[in-house]
Symmetry: C2
Subunit: 676 residues, 2 copies
């Protein structure tokens, strides 16, 4: 029986996991190098992690704290982490930004601050906006102290009554010519800022998005730098009503806040004026083009796509390792209970998520390449690729957050009862990721944007216009009356998805046109065609991801990988394509007659793909090279000592520090004696 | 600007909600009476709720507490609630059990103990097992004090390394003839009991499921009453290693625990001996039949089906009311922002969940009727219906927990960012319900059981055997070469589901047979056919639910409802059938060629159904008559004052009680001044 203070965790690695690792058909180290961009980068990553993750507090302490204590701990965690990161940046690459601040908005931050932290909005949006939209003077005055963390800010756009529709926000900034100031007011409860990270009790500044008025004339939405708290006492300044919005499903330490203004005055020069300007006499100078803000949104969505698919792979690693250790339910009576990973239904829960995570992560990398290219082209005055970039970053944000959210939860459930324990970290990963389903553009709103763009493109096609690169498949499919004869190649499955996406677009287009012809306004018709528009949009995303991964696995770069690794990737590709086609069969069959033989062959390919991945599953997950501290999971650690770790984690619960809880004498004993 | 201590919540009802209620096409009161089994029962329910829910603590206090404080509060909540319930039972219906203990395991308990509580396992399983499996002496000695809460117990079956496969458990009870005692031991870490509710720090007794050994001979699994803690001091008894298993995704106050034994001795008479017996000389008397335990599992699964579908409807009520109040994203430019419930994509998120929740709830009621009938038949010595009961209760448990879990989460996401706030209660409802996905038979394990039963039935059919009632559709479909010509009736859609379920079973059967013929053992073949078996099993459940609801809405009892109410139910039926058929189209198209015209007509019917439900959605949710305290939601309250309630809830956060948090002087200020 375990004594309270001795660690139960043996030094050995679970023999089932060892066996799995030995049995992998490929070099796990080659996979790790490939996944992390080369042996040098892998080495660097490991050195950084070893430095950052040593001597950290218990990874689940925050689970047991009160909301208030958890926040205070999060501030401790993140200030310490920031110091560490800055120091390491100076040590390893002075003047760079690859460690500080980049690691602060990577998944690795959860290893440093497992309960979340209130600095993200400061580090990303607040600082970015100043540097991108501020004048050189503003960058000097606000940007530099912000980058140096002498002030902590947040980005205050969303209001309690106004989310995605930014034009609807109501906070007002009115120019007062006499004092050369803006006066900020919150006209009603619905206009309160609500959600900005760190706003509650951390930030002393905010970039406030408000409606600008000069002499009662409205000049649209502008951004204003507002100091919220005294820099020394941290007390809220007069007229600033501020607090946190309360407990949430996840992001425990993020300290999201609310903010209202009563006649708060700021200097005219606190409006960000790189683009639009207000002169001292009250003249409003409109901006010639403010399209560049657009690329910040694209950037954020790419970031979300990367960390969401990465989180899905973290969950898959936890569930796969556990499934290799857990033994349950005999397959053959009188034989010992098998590893649950040998149950085909369990494989069907795990491997599609592994494949999907890998494919989405690689697709996000492809979009990052496009992003860099687009920035270069913009710098050269060429804006042509921006719409493609916008649409595909929206699509990838939707696919990754949807698939990661529901996938992580399916993986948690695949761990049976134990997945319900916080010490597995699965519910925390879920809580943090699912937030992205609704932030930075709610997913349905984004799908509708994509859908309307597709329909517009389709109409342009019928007018003979040329398509941009990412919708060129529409042109190819436009003239095609029917899908080619079935064949079993990967290329065929990709074409099938493209054909279906194009025909979904055509259908949405026809229905929309019909509705307009029947007298509905364009907008009403679009609303009534909403379901089909979102479906077409999703398929647009799917065919993109499928094309990217087909090219990635079978293209020229495969020469840089060993045959064994390529075989693994081909299995991943096969599983991904087959499951994606099966998943959308409902839509596919709408446009392409597929006979029972073909359907059986797909089902068979699915089962064969699961079987092929079985011996490599643990090795693939090792290939992501997640540090134990990052996974922070009793079920997912490298050594697979799952039961000992579950027990050790339980021992940490404060309730287990006393044999009899306080409520016994107070409530339970009198109750039991009362005879009711 | 709201002052800290005045309530912001106006007395008025939100005008948009008032408008919705006026516009409903039916009498909301009639719906409420129908849903609750008549005007008298509705009145009674409301009286009970008003009595129980007055003067309760804030419904979200527990969100802000530490894990330990939350547990102590849960004990306070549930002991107070139990006193209240007993008192009310004595007042309204002395000697009955409709209030105490029944309300303790209904959804209403969440209104009384919003953080969950540690008494459920005591009230349901512990007491039930004593009364069902104990001798009259044992009922006297243990059952009565348990029912009177003089002792608090739990049911300790699952072990950390052994879940669903009960035969695998390792805790041992060895009979010692010399002392007439059993000696209990936990042979290793994996044999620790793990998960029983209330075991951590609440229960002083446990019903322990262990392997019985007499003279080194194994006599299978038996149940043993074991005292765990001193009744007066609550200290764990010698040899009893006990504690809680730590924080979980939900069920915060349930205090699940672990339990290990080192030579713990209990009298021989503590083994439950209504069936199997151990005599003083060590003779083991096997039980002639212990089939009745089976009906306890059936009972528990019916209970899960009812409360899961009810929880889905709670979430639907919250999301629907919010969608009627929230205004966002203009449909027509230059018009005001519409209620978001007017967006078709939003309707597509809400109404299918409402329809599904209603239909599953009514199907569960039907299964309860069967359950009562089965009990009566068993009492008369007729066991014929038991297999049907077992299979259908498993199927309904799987469908309701799956659909409720993912449905609640989709509904939460339909509330956009605000759904992420704990004060909406959506994440708490989710956390409590999703647990049932893996407990009381993990869903995949249950589906495989059903699938194997279906295949067995199919084989019997081919041998000309008669089918029991709930699989008689298999016989009907067995000889049918192809599906009838498409028509637009509800009956056709139900038949389509049955035809597909039957053919899925046939296919699974064929593949299984093929694998056995190729040399696999029966068990290996079943494992390799796992995916298809689970799909057949799901469809078996779907066709059952569809048949029940078709009969319910169109059958003779419709005479007891007004025409207006029947029209609403017909819309629900239409939406349910269309969405279920669309959802399984992938499988349906495998066996039934459906042309594009029919598919278009289904899509059109879906859109028409959404449109028809639009004016009634809020009224239908009112029809469930959820008390505000039960919903416990800032977004879902009857008055629809959502922004004011969000704000009021935020004000309760302990962090908002001080302007500057403790971590400022300690961590944040030194950090900001440090220049890193």
């Amino acid at each position: 029986m375990p004594a309270p203070n001795d660690s139960l965790i043996p030094a050995r690695v679970n023999p089932d996991l060892e066996k799995e690792r030995r049995a992998a058909s490929f070099s796990i180290f080659e996979f790790q190098c490939w996944w992390h961009g080369g042996a040098e980068k892998l080495k660097e990553k490991r050195e950084i992690e070893n430095y950052l993750f040593k001597d950290l507090r218990d990874g689940h302490l925050h689970d047991y704290l009160s909301h208030e204590d958890l926040y205070n701990l999060a501030v401790k965690d993140i200030t310490e982490a920031s110091q560490k990161l800055r120091k390491l940046q100076a040590l390893r690459n002075p003047g760079g930004n690859d460690i500080w601040p980049k690691i602060l908005y990577s998944n690795a931050v959860y290893a440093l601050a497992p309960g979340g932290h209130p600095f993200s909005t400061h580090i990303t949006m607040f600082i970015d906006v100043i540097f991108n939209q501020g004048t050189p003077e503003q960058i000097e005055k606000f940007g530099k102290p912000a980058a140096n963390c002498n002030i902590i800010g947040t980005y205050a756009q969303t209001e309690i009554g106004h989310g995605t529709n930014v034009r609807g926000i109501e906070t007002r900034a009115v120019y007062d010519r006499k004092t050369d100031e803006f006066v900020l007011n919150t006209p009603n409860l619905q206009a309160y800022k609500w959600w900005p990270g760190g706003l509650g009790h951390t930030a002393n500044h905010a970039m406030v998005v408000a409606q600008l008025y000069i002499d009662d004339k409205h000049h649209g939405i502008q951004m204003f730098m507002v100091q919220l708290r005294d820099l020394d006492t941290h007390m809220p300044l007069p007229g600033v009503h501020i607090g946190e919005i309360g407990k949430k499903l996840g992001m425990a330490g993020v300290n999201q806040g609310f903010l209202g203004f009563t006649n708060v005055r700021i200097p005219r020069t606190n409006m960000l004026m790189r683009n639009a300007k207000v002169l001292p006499d009250g003249t409003f100078v409109a901006s010639p083009a403010s399209r560049l803000n657009y690329m910040t949104m694209v950037y954020t969505r790419c970031l979300i796509a990367s960390f969401s698919s990465d989180a899905l792979l973290q969950a898959a690693t936890i569930a796969t390792r556990y499934s290799a250790v857990r033994r349950q339910s005999p397959i053959n009576a009188n034989e010992p209970e098998p590893q649950i990973i040998d149950h085909v239904t369990q494989q069907h829960k795990l491997f599609p998520e592994i494949a999907n995570g890998i494919v989405l992560f690689l697709a996000a990398q492809k979009v990052w390449e496009m992003y860099d290219l687009t920035l270069k082209e913009i710098a050269a005055g060429d804006y042509a690729r921006m719409t493609d970039m916008h649409i595909i970053s929206c699509a990838l944000k939707v696919l990754t957050t949807t698939d990661a959210s529901f996938g992580i939860e399916r993986l948690r459930l695949s761990c049976g009862g134990h997945g319900y324990l916080s010490s597995t970290n699965l519910s925390t990963i879920y809580g943090n990721i699912v937030a992205a389903y609704t932030y930075e553009g709610e997913n349905t709103v984004l799908l509708l944007q994509i859908g309307r763009y597709l329909v517009k493109s389709w109409l342009q096609l019928t007018q003979g216009k040329k398509m941009s690169q990412l919708v060129s498949y529409l042109a190819e499919m436009h003239g095609q009356r029917q899908m080619l004869q079935w064949n079993d190649t990967w290329e065929y499955l990709v074409k099938l998805l493209q054909y279906t996406a194009a025909n979904k677009t055509r259908l949405a287009c026809e229905n929309l046109t019909k509705r307009v012809a029947a007298g509905q306004t364009q907008e009403e018709a679009a609303n009534n065609t909403g379901i089909e528009l979102t479906q077409a949009a999703e398929l647009h995303g799917r065919q993109f991801v499928a094309s990217v991964i087909l090219q990635y696995v079978t293209g020229a770069k495969s020469n840089q990988r060993s045959k064994a690794l390529n075989l693994v990737l081909e299995n991943i590709l096969e599983l991904y394509l087959v499951q994606t086609v099966l998943r959308h069969m409902n839509d596919i069959l709408r446009f392409t007659p597929i006979n029972d033989t073909n359907l059986r062959s797909l089902q068979n390919r699915l089962e064969v793909a699961l079987k092929k991945l079985r011996p490599d599953a643990v090795g693939i997950c090792d290939g992501f090279d997640y540090h134990d501290r990052l996974l922070n999971s009793t079920l997912g650690s490298y050594d697979g000592n799952v039961y000992e770790r579950l027990f050790e984690a339980a021992k940490q619960s404060p309730l287990n520090q006393k044999p009899v809880p306080d409520s016994f004498e107070k409530y339970l004993k009198p109750f039991m004696k009362s005879n009711l």
